[in-house]
Symmetry: C2
């Protein structure tokens, strides 16, 4: 039985989810993955904060303690924001450690560079959790891209916006009222700017673009419009015509190989693959050359969906190692 | 550049699709997969039938010719029906050859045994194409099962049935009229029994059951009902209530670990994950413990969707071989 040491960076919702799943499944993973996973350290900002859900001796606020773990195999990066997440991820890779991240702000900007660095150091980067939460769009796309070309991606990538638009239509409520409800239900942050402005969906779209096309459009060329200007009257008028507002992140390959991307509200009819995606769900529709249109739907956020796809990233790395070598 | 030899068993729609994709992408695969794939032989029933789409010297009706190919790496099994598909697949495995199959009739019955045999001989079996055509439900489930438990699977697994139900509702037509249309459009076979009786969906459900739960229910315990008894009046009455008929294949784990499975028409409302799946699409909704409900939607049949996921099975085998070994 191989004992492996992992560390968690950031101990908010997602970090705690990883801690929970790895401990809950530790015995099972010995059998199914063939490894005994030990969480060796957890990096936090404030070590003095009382924590009931992890032993105090695992907690540190010093990244040097993480790098000092002997034979550290994987860092689960669940920090919010670009820095120090990028710096720590790069350092981990340079120390021969695999990185699995949920950080869309960091990865949308530095993902291609981190993957390049990982190649150079012979380690892997998992980033399923950066985009669409529990929906395995990254692995699905990595897989189909081996044979198919993806030429158009349309996604509902922000559950908060989709929840608000759904409630405005189904309950006939105004934007502000639904936002307040969403905040009290935990579906929207106290500061909802990133969600309702479209910036969150934009970052996730850039991650999908880098994967599908190996590049991103120039960020300043992408129109990013949120849902804040949509009125109840517009929603009612659309409903009367059998249409629904969806907040759609959209990137496609133009005829000359250029990328055309936009993020904003769209009116879609029943034939559209995103028409039926309701509530806090996320969805991604991929137009491909051989398969046609493939749509994935599921929870776009949440402690366990997000944390579980990060642990799956790790399991996937192990599976690649232990695969039969006969082919 | 590693040159690899593969063979295709059966040269109907799917077999021809594989031949087309491998040749169309051969140069690209040299770069992306690192192999030069040569189709060494194609097994058919009738060698005298004129074929414009493959050189005559590749064609054989003798399976011994397939086994005699030196260093044969992969057999793409695209035969219809249980035999000789099972016999050939087993022989290929015993000869150290990987098998990739699209054959739901064979695999629903012999899949677990073939996978056991493959383990024993150190080769792999790919079967993405057996279920839901171009929708990558097998690989998605293999991946999420490493961390999540799947406890309930509901699928629209037969595109013909779904097309007929969709047209009956949206066009107000009778079953027999839609079936005739479907046959003239190529969406239904001349003998539509397997599709409209539910038998086709049943076989695919058994494949999903074996993957998710490691076992199947006793086949004779599963109620399998087709769509042939549904009348226009019933469809209209459902529509008036905001409900839709869907032909649903359903398997779940009962409280005592027993499997409960059924295949048949169900009335579903707008909140159901399969409500919005229209036309010839297939869909599978997986209820999991951490992620929640994940739904995959896409084309359930067709030459290129089916053939491309078989080539992806092969690419996946290669990716497992060539993965970094640092973890």
């Amino acid at each position: 039985m191989a004992a492996v040491k992992v560390a968690i960076l950031g101990f908010g919702t997602v970090g705690q989810g990883i801690y929970h799943i790895i401990n809950e499944k530790r015995e099972q993973f010995k059998e199914t993955l063939g490894v005994d996973i030990e969480i060796a350290k957890i990096l936090v900002r404030d070590v003095t904060k009382p924590r009931s859900n992890a032993p105090q001796d695992l907690i540190t606020d010093n990244f040097e303690d993480i790098l000092a773990i002997p034979d550290l195999q994987v860092v689960f990066e669940a920090i919010v924001g670009e820095e120090p997440a990028f710096k720590y991820s790069a350092l981990a890779i340079e120390n021969g450690c695999n990185v699995i991240t949920a950080n869309k702000v960091m990865f949308s900007k530095h993902g291609l560079a981190l993957q390049e660095k990982a190649k150079q150091y012979g380690v892997q980067v998992g980033y399923e959790a950066t985009t669409a939460g529990g929906v395995p769009v990254i692995k699905t796309m990595q897989n189909i891209l081996r044979v198919n070309d993806v030429h158009h991606i349309q996604g509902i990538l922000n559950g908060t916006s989709n929840y608000i638009l759904t409630q405005m239509r189904s309950e006939g409520l105004a934007f502000d009222d639904v936002l307040k409800d969403a905040q009290s239900l935990g579906y929207a942050e106290a500061d909802p700017y990133n969600d309702i402005s479209g910036q969150d969906a934009f970052r996730k779209l850039m991650i999908l673009s880098a994967l599908a096309f190996g590049k991103q459009p120039r960020w300043e060329d992408v129109d990013v419009i949120g849902i804040t200007e949509i009125t109840s009257e517009q929603v009612d008028k659309a409903s009367a015509k059998g249409l629904r507002y969806r907040h759609v992140a959209d990137v496609q390959l133009g005829e000359n190989g250029e990328l055309i991307a936009k993020v904003g509200p769209e009116l879609v009819g029943p034939e559209h693959p995103l028409y039926s995606i309701e509530g806090v769900n996320n969805a991604v529709a991929l137009d491909t050359n051989y398969i046609g249109t493939l749509t994935l739907v599921g929870p776009g956020a949440g402690m366990f969906p997000t944390a579980s796809v990060m642990v799956e990233d790790y399991a996937d790395m192990l599976a690649k190692q232990t695969a039969p070598v006969t082919i």
